[in-house]
Structures are given as C-alpha cells and as structure tokens.
C-alpha cells in the first residue's frame, strides 16, 4: 500500500436496480486526507459514499482500504464510520448508550467502556448531556453525538453525509471548526458529501466534483475555485458567465464574437460577475435588473450574447434600469475551460 492510496476506488460501478448511478469511477485518497465529494443531487456522490460504507452492493470494480480489498466485506466489519445526514441516532437510547452502542458490540465492558464513552462524549463537549435522549437535544448537539458515536469506534475512514446542511449559519461555522479539529487531532481520513461549494471550499483538502456518476474534476479548493476545467465546474463554483470558444472567437446564440487580448486555445472561457468590466468595451447591453449587495452592486444585463451577470463597486455610480451600457469580457481574466458541455 502506498500512502497515495489509503482508500482507493477502482473502476467502481454502482447501480440502483437497473439504473447505473456511478460508472467506472477511479479515486485514490491519501491517509489523513479530508475529501469533499461535491456535486448536485443525482450526481452519484451519496451513492459512492454508501458504497464505501458497504451499504450498497458494488456492481463491478473494487474498493481497497488500508491494503485490503473490502469490496465484499459486510458493512459491520469494515471499520468505516458514517455520520448520517439525519444523524440516525437511536431514539430509545441515551446519548451515553448511543455512543456505547458499537463498543458494546465489540465486547467492550466495564471501566474500559466507560472511559472510552466518557472521553468520546467529552471530546464533543456534551459531558453534561450523557443521560439525555436524542429528542431532547438540538440538531447541532445530535450531530455531535453522531460524530462521537462514530469516532469512538476509531474508524479507518469517517464518512459524513451533508454534515453542515441541517445547521443554521452560526452552528455551521462551529461544526466546520469542530470537524477540522477532530480531523487534526485524530488524523482520521474523512470524506464528506455536499452539494454546497462554499462548504467544500472551506473544509476540504481536496475536492472531487462529480457529475452524472463520474468525476468531473479533482483538485485543491484553490484549483477548483480559480481554475475550473469544465463549464460544469465553472458554473457550479460561481462563474456566472460561461461561453464556448470556436476558432479563438466567443460563441453565443449561434454567433461568433471577437474578444480583446490573447485568447487561449481552449474549449471555453468563464467569467465571474466581478470579472466583467462595466462602462467600456466592445459589447453593449441593457440593464435589466440591479440589486444592492452591501459592498457591491449586482447587475443583470440583456445583451446579444444572452444574459450577462456583472458586478460593480457599491461606491461606483449606479446604472439605472434600462440604461444601455458598454462592457467587456477580458480574456486575460477569464478561466480557461478544457471542456465545454
């Protein structure tokens, strides 16, 4: 086993009934890495995660963990932890008993058990809640119990299904920090599934963007954010203006347009709203909508290229609705896209 592939998925194909959800997926994950599986619903990220947990039989391909082929190992013998999106706490058991559940099944009893459970509960800051039932806890607290319940088992891989999606904004930040701390302290390999790019960017060491059962791009948060490889990823991480290129010209609505500056020979270009230069340039558009967003003002322009989203500093003069504006899509600022779908 190399350190490069502590957990590896080899040509993994997963099906749900006759519908193939994930096809020929290859992925290598290093020990101690924090990976985000990012994509819209239906992209196969949850399916992939469940297959790693063993909850979904593998149609073809292999799953290797820590040097062993676990493709056909049943989920209760995999040493893989999963924090469910719903937390899936046992409603009839106290916090203490929820955390003790797996340890008891391992045959742990008495003082050993108690020490481990107490430590697990304390580490997530719930030592005063040991005797509460899940229903008596807030969502954030329930999630901590779920985290402790998985972590006391010392899993080789910890999977988290949309770990921040059910929390409010303040708790989200708290939980994000918590997950990073747990990961740093224990060095556990973590994979979490999310549809929220901000969540993935903030938390992950590496992001795996998935689309329709296949990997679209793998990279660091900086890579994904700044250098999307495809129109899909660009669109997903907030490049609102995505266009195909044809022979060095921008293609929109069936017409070709010249761009200023050096145009790279790629399949497409993408601009975030703030990359669009307003007030000058070869293109013209009419202001269709405008909204104030604190430090900036957002514009929606009607243009021959189609709708364009642009931003300006809040301090800049306001362009009223209906005004015709010149603008530019500077090629040097755009993210080059290797593939355009």
């Amino acid at each position: 086993m190399s350190d490069q592939s502590y957990l590896s998925l080899e040509k993994l194909t997963l099906a749900y009934g006759d519908t193939v959800a994930v096809a020929d997926l290859d992925l290598d994950i290093r020990r101690g890495e924090l990976i985000a599986l990012l994509g819209p619903s239906g992209c196969g990220k949850t399916t992939t995660m469940r297959a790693i947990a063993g909850l979904l039989p593998v149609k073809s391909g292999r799953v290797r963990l820590d040097g062993a082929d676990i493709t056909h190992v049943s989920p209760n013998k995999r040493a893989v932890g999963l924090v469910f999106q719903s937390y899936a706490l046992f409603p009839h058991l106290s916090v203490y008993e929820n955390v003790a559940f797996g340890l008891r099944l391992k045959g742990m009893r008495g003082a050993d058990l108690d020490a481990r459970v107490q430590q697990g509960i304390t580490s997530v800051g719930l030592s005063n809640f040991a005797n509460r039932r899940p229903a008596e806890l807030s969502g954030g607290q329930q999630q901590r119990v779920a985290l402790a319940r998985s972590m006391v088992m010392e899993p080789k891989v910890l999977l988290l299904d949309e770990p921040l999606s059910n929390l409010d904004a303040r708790l989200r930040l708290e939980m994000r920090t918590e997950l990073q701390r747990v990961q740093k302290e224990t060095g556990v390999t973590m994979i979490f599934v999310t549809h929220d790019q901000a969540e993935a960017l903030a938390l992950a060491d590496r992001i795996v963007v998935m689309k329709r059962g296949a990997i679209e791009q793998i990279g660091s948060p900086q890579d994904i954010y700044n250098r999307p490889q495809s129109s899909f990823v660009a669109d997903f991480v907030g490049f609102e203006n995505v266009f195909a290129l044809e022979g060095g010209k921008l293609k929109a609505n069936g017409h070709l347009y010249d761009l200023q500056g050096d145009v790279p020979s790629v399949a497409g270009l993408a601009w975030r709203p703030r990359m669009v230069a307003l007030g000058e340039g070869p293109f013209r558009g009419t202001v269709r909508g405008t909204s104030f967003a604190g430090d900036r003002r957002e514009y929606l322009l009607d243009t021959p290229l189609g709708p364009i989203k642009a931003e300006d500093d809040a301090s800049a003069p306001v362009h009223e609705l209906g005004t015709e504006l010149a603008f530019d899509l500077p090629a040097r600022k755009a993210a080059p896209l290797a593939s355009f779908a």
Binding site: A53, A88, L89, F90, F101
Partner: protein
C-alpha cells in the same frame, strides 16, 4: 349570549347525550333490583352483576373470546410484523398486491368471511370450530396489525438500522436492538386494537359456533333472546368498563391514539 355561543354547548350536549346516554342507561339498569330489564331501575342491588359470574355459558364463552382475542391477535402480529417490515422498508415487487391481500379481511363484511370459512374450510377439511374461529379472528386482526405496525415503522427512519450495522451489528441484531425497541408502542397498540376488535366481533363468529363453542357476544345475543333479565346489561357494563379501562390505560401510558 349570541346564537353562536349557545349553539356550541347545545349541539355538544345533544350529540353526546345521544351517543353516551344509552350506555349510561345500561349501566343504571344493571344495578336494578327488579326481575326484568327496565329504566329507571327498580331499586338498587348487585344481584345481576353477581349473577353474571354464575352463568356457566358466560364463563365458557368468555374464556373462548379471551383465547381468540389474545391468541388471534398474537398470531396476527407474528405474521404481521415481518410483513409490515417488508412493506415499509423494502421495494417489494407486488407490494400493493400483498398489502391488499393482507388488508382485505377488513373490507368484506364479516358474516361473509364466517360463512366462507364454514363452507370451504371447516366442512371440506374437517377443521374444528375452535380452530376455525381462531383462523377467522387471526385473519380479521391481521389488517390492523399490519396497518398499525407499518405506521410506526414508517415513522422510524430506516437509517438507524444502517447506523447500527455500521457500528458492528448484524442485520438481525439491528432489528432487535434498534427497530423493535422503537416500535414497541406501535406493537402494543396493535395488540390492544386487535384485542378489542376480536373480542367485540360478532358477524365473523355467527356461523362458527358449535356445541359448547361460542364467543361471548354471540352467547349474549342468544341469552337475551330467551331471558329478559338485567344480567346481559350487567355483563355489557362490565365488559364496557373493561375495554374502556384497557384503552385508557393504553392511551395514558403509550399514547395509543398516536398509532391508531
């Protein structure tokens, strides 16, 4: 006082008097000292209540009804719990067919079920009346068992079983460790509902009676056709208080109505 504030208490009084009144009259009549069933009761005595316990056929048919209610409901649950589990957790081919077949005994009038059993099970296969009653009551209770247990399973997220398995439990272990404790209330409610349904059931049992084998309600009807004394009223009151007591205890301790 406007029409609306008068309308509400008046409506409720009339409706509840209509619904509960007859029952109260029965209770009052059972304390009568007179020889015949009458209201207002003639004097006060406990003689008819006492008499209920001395009628031999009542004792036998009460035993029969109790056996059917407990045994039939238990049997229905033993088959019904796994079926409910399959219906609520799995994507089962033909799930709707199975659900319909299992629920069917509710839709068809009981007298038809009883007659069909008599003609095509009891007579051709030489099945004893007691066994036939047991089968009939089990079939009758099965829809309730499946329905109530399914409802409580549907309220329980299935990922707790996956969580249990990921923490090292076997599939069967997960069922007993995390599913069963969480649907206990539903199962008990199903039991009580099944018990009351079976115990009060008449039409299914109508054709299924033999020498010395009769359910209590059938026995009561037979008795009141011959003797017009308040003992049936006394027995009715006792049974009513028994089932009200059971249901209230269930509501108090289990939140029965959540499941039914």
């Amino acid at each position: 006082m406007n029409a609306r504030t008068l309308f509400i208490p008046l409506t409720l009084f009339v409706v509840i008097a209509f619904l509960i009144g007859p029952f109260l009259i029965i209770v009052a009549a059972s304390f009568s000292a007179g020889e015949t069933l009458a209201f207002p009761p003639q004097g006060f005595s406990l003689r008819w209540i006492a008499k209920v316990f001395t009628v031999e056929s009542f004792r036998a048919s009460f035993g029969m009804s109790l056996f059917l209610a407990i045994g039939g409901t238990a049997a229905a649950l033993i088959m019904g719990i796994p079926a409910s589990y399959a219906l609520s957790r799995y994507k089962l081919p033909g799930a709707e067919v199975i659900r319909t077949v299992v629920s069917a005994p509710i839709i068809v009038p009981g007298i038809i079920v009883g007659l069909a059993l008599l003609r095509y099970i009891v007579v051709p296969f030489g099945v004893g009346i007691s066994l036939a009653l047991f089968l009939a009551h089990t079939a009758l209770v099965l829809p309730y068992a499946v329905r109530v247990v399914s409802a409580s399973l549907d309220n329980l997220r299935s990922d707790i079983e996956e969580a249990a398995v990921l923490l090292g439990s076997s599939r069967l272990g997960a069922f007993f460790r995390v599913v069963l404790p969480n649907i206990r209330g539903g199962i008990l409610s199903a039991f009580i509902l099944g018990f009351v349904t079976s115990f009060n059931q008449v039409p299914v049992s109508l054709f299924l009676s033999g020498p010395g084998v009769r359910t209590l309600p059938i026995d009561m009807i037979a008795y009141m056709e011959i003797v017009f004394d308040p003992s049936v009223a006394a027995l009715s009151s006792l049974l009513a208080f028994l089932s009200i007591g059971i249901v209230f205890a269930a509501e108090r301790f289990l939140g029965f109505s959540r499941y039914v």
